[in-house]
């Protein structure tokens, strides 16, 4: 194992491909926040004029099954090899991964193949026997947030809004949460390493906001696979999320930004659950602290319609945040879906009635 030493991680920059990405979707992001990935593709294609290919044939990476001991490592290796075979078939060499769990899994497998070539040979054999397919190892594997980070200044140059309170002129205070599997496993795969990863904070700064450090910044969001997926462990899951909210509360953040689909979901929904248990929110009032993924925030400042970004799917109401930065939107269209169809609405948004 290569030991990196004598380096200041916060100044560390990883290599992020410039163009021509093969997109690898997230299982849970597509379900919980379906607008986020659509926005990511659109930002790359339409705003940044990049080539990104979204292959309908690709599947789960099996990461969640792997981390709950349901899917064996050999199976995950073969499934990921199949994703790479689709990439190879389409002539791409750079992967853009949407999910942090997947990003960790892809890196774990690429590292395994580097350290143990016999595992790579075995996987090639399994894939060939099962599907007749062959694959090349990608030249670059970046997470979606890496790519948005790389082009954050170009996005800022095209932006319609800034992360600034239009009434006070003050930058919005935004706390970041980095998914554990982004760089806790392989610090060199994350921008700025793990302790002070700058992948989200520099986006916040580039778009006019003020990143806020808080004591539990590196703590797990509470998902943690088994903490949530095993039902009897869910109190552990929520107590971890509570620890984060409690820690960020004194800083009075205007929003939370995350780079992980699972974190986005848990930091959003557990606020409601905690409010119902404790009778209070950690953002003051009844709403809570709005939670955005990096694509959603990029989409917002670029002027994407908040409802086309899917922000009505969030538990914590995003409208107070939209008003703070002056987004022009039609509240009447909040629950109007494609083709003008009413998609129904929750009994209330926010965390407390």
């Amino acid at each position: 194992m290569e030991i990196k030493s004598k380096i200041k991680w916060s100044e560390y920059n990883k290599e992020i491909a410039e163009d021509h990405f093969f997109f690898l979707r997230s299982c849970i992001r597509q379900n919980f926040n379906p607008g986020a990935e659509k926005a990511f593709i659109s930002i790359l294609k339409n705003n940044l004029k990049k080539d990104i290919f979204d292959d309908a044939r690709h599947t789960t990476c099996t990461g969640i099954g792997y981390h709950t001991d349901i899917v064996p490592f050999e199976t995950m290796q073969t499934m990921i090899a199949r994703q790479f075979s689709l990439m190879t078939e389409k002539g791409y060499k750079n992967c853009a991964v949407s999910c942090i769990t997947s990003f960790g899994s892809y890196n774990e497998i690429l590292s395994t193949w580097k350290e143990f070539p016999e595992e790579l040979a075995k996987t090639r054999d399994y894939l060939k026997k099962a599907t007749g397919r062959e694959f090349e190892i990608p030249e670059n594997l970046s997470h979606g947030c890496d790519i948005i980070y790389k082009f954050r200044k170009e996005i800022a140059a095209q932006s319609n809004y800034k992360l600034i309170n239009i009434e006070t002129g003050e930058p919005l205070k935004i706390v970041d949460h980095i998914g554990c599997h982004y760089s806790k496993i392989f610090p060199e795969k994350g921008v700025g390493g793990f302790e002070y990863s700058k992948v989200l904070t520099e986006m916040i700064q580039a778009w006019g906001g003020q990143p806020v450090d808080y004591p539990e910044r590196r703590h797990c969001c509470g998902f943690g696979f088994r903490q949530y997926l095993v039902k009897s462990n869910r109190s552990y899951s929520i107590s971890n999320s509570r620890k984060k909210f409690e820690s960020m509360e004194p800083f009075k953040p205007d929003a939370i930004i995350t780079n992980c689909p699972g974190c986005n979901m848990f930091l959003d929904r557990w606020q409601y659950t905690l409010a119902q248990i404790e009778g209070k929110t950690y953002g003051g009032g009844t709403n809570g602290i709005p939670v955005f993924s990096y694509e959603e925030l990029a989409g917002l400042i670029l002027g994407y319609d908040p409802w086309k970004l899917g922000l009505q799917m969030h538990q914590v109401d995003v409208e107070p945040f939209l008003k703070k930065i002056g987004v022009r939107y039609d509240p009447e269209l909040k629950f109007v879906g494609i083709n003008g169809k009413y998609i129904n609405e929750p009994l209330f948004t926010g965390c407390l009635k």
Binding site: I3, S5, K6, I7, K8, W9, S10, G193, E195, Y196, D213, Y214, P215, E216, R217, R218, P250, F251
Partner: protein, 345 residues
């Protein structure tokens, strides 16, 4: 006659000064070359020495008096970067191409302090209330008190052992040896000036190798109520009120620990000097796997480098305490005399 022989010593810290004084007293011509404007090295910043709270100033003053009385030629503001053997003599030069010639050389250029900003999870250089053991010594020496960045008296202080030592993540797997006892000494000093404060030392294991070190450890617990917690720190974060949240573990109780303190002191380790690599060029001097100067034999002859006629003294070899550095330098001086006697023709 070796009395006509000339010895050049690189580094005017305590080891270089001691070796210079011993050699000059024996009648040799000695040039002591110091990169700073004063001699005494890092000890100039120190407040008290372990384990008896002795004054470092007394040590330096005595060494200055010894070098002055024995007729050592001290050259200041000169940093040697090249050692070469030409026509049977050594030629030492700096970046300005100032040259010195000698019949033997002692490298006594000391150590470098671990840069605590590399251990980002401990927040040095990020949070105002995280300081190093060296910052603490400077503060005590210049101001005689410990205050938080908010100018209040800290009520809880944590002292973190092994920062940049025994840590593969920082690339330093060796023990710096003197930090444990330094931490105990500093904890007692804090308790003396802030008797109502709570002081915690977080350690892996306490390496108290010297005479009276263990008794000072016991004294710290019994008389000064210092609390020793066996566990490594995982991270420090700053709270809204600028106090610090520590995530650590208590391995004796077998549980993780979260604790808030007002000030953290990092016991930073000793690293090989920055110039060690330069000294290996143009000659046969070598460095060990950690970057310290490599002696030909660590058991019987730690003062001889792998190049005949070039000797080593003090912490350029490995981490050492003040008394060891001085004794080691004295030994180096006698090795030089023995070498010159053998090669006097």
């Amino acid at each position: 006659m070796i009395k006509n022989k000339h010895v050049a010593i690189i580094g005017g810290g305590i080891a270089g000064m001691e070796a210079a004084a011993v050699l000059a007293k024996q009648g040799l011509k000695v040039t002591l070359i110091e990169k700073e404007a004063i001699t005494g090295g890092k000890l100039n910043d120190w407040h008290h020495l372990f384990p008896d709270f002795f004054s470092p100033k007394t040590v330096i003053d005595n060494l200055i008096a010894k070098t002055n009385h024995s007729g050592v030629n001290v050259v200041y503001n000169t940093e040697i970067s090249k050692i070469e053997k030409l026509n049977g003599r050594f030629e030492l030069s700096d970046e300005r191409d100032t040259k010195f010639y000698s019949d033997a050389v002692i490298i006594a250029s000391g150590f470098r302090l671990f840069d605590a900003t590399l251990k980002e999870e401990y927040g040095y250089g990020i949070f105002d209330n995280v300081i190093t053991s060296v910052d603490f010594e400077k503060l005590m020496k210049t101001e005689g008190k410990l205050l938080t960045a908010q100018k209040t008296e800290p009520k809880r202080i944590a002292i973190i052992h092994c920062v940049g030592s025994r840590d593969a993540k920082t690339g330093n797997t060796y023990c710096s040896k003197v930090c444990c006892i330094t931490g105990i000494k500093q904890a007692i000093e804090i308790n003396k000036i802030l008797p109502d404060s709570e002081i915690y030392c977080f350690y892996m294991d306490l390496r108290l190798y010297g005479l009276n070190f263990d008794s000072l450890y016991l004294h710290a617990q019994k008389q000064h109520k210092i609390q020793f917690i066996r566990g490594r720190l995982s991270e420090i974060a700053e709270r809204f009120d600028k106090s610090l949240q520590l995530k650590t573990e208590d391995t004796l109780q077998g549980r993780p620990l979260r604790i808030n303190v007002d000030t953290v002191i990092l016991l930073i380790g000793m690293e090989p000097g920055a110039s060690n690599n330069l000294f290996t060029k143009n000659n046969k001097v070598t460095i060990d796997e950690n970057g310290f100067m490599k002696p030909i034999n660590m058991h019987e002859n730690r003062n001889s480098s792998t190049h005949d006629g070039i000797f080593l003294a003090g912490t350029v070899i490995c981490p050492m305490a003040v008394n060891e550095s001085i004794e080691n330098a004295r030994a180096a001086a006698f090795e030089v005399i023995s070498y010159l006697e053998k090669n006097k023709l």
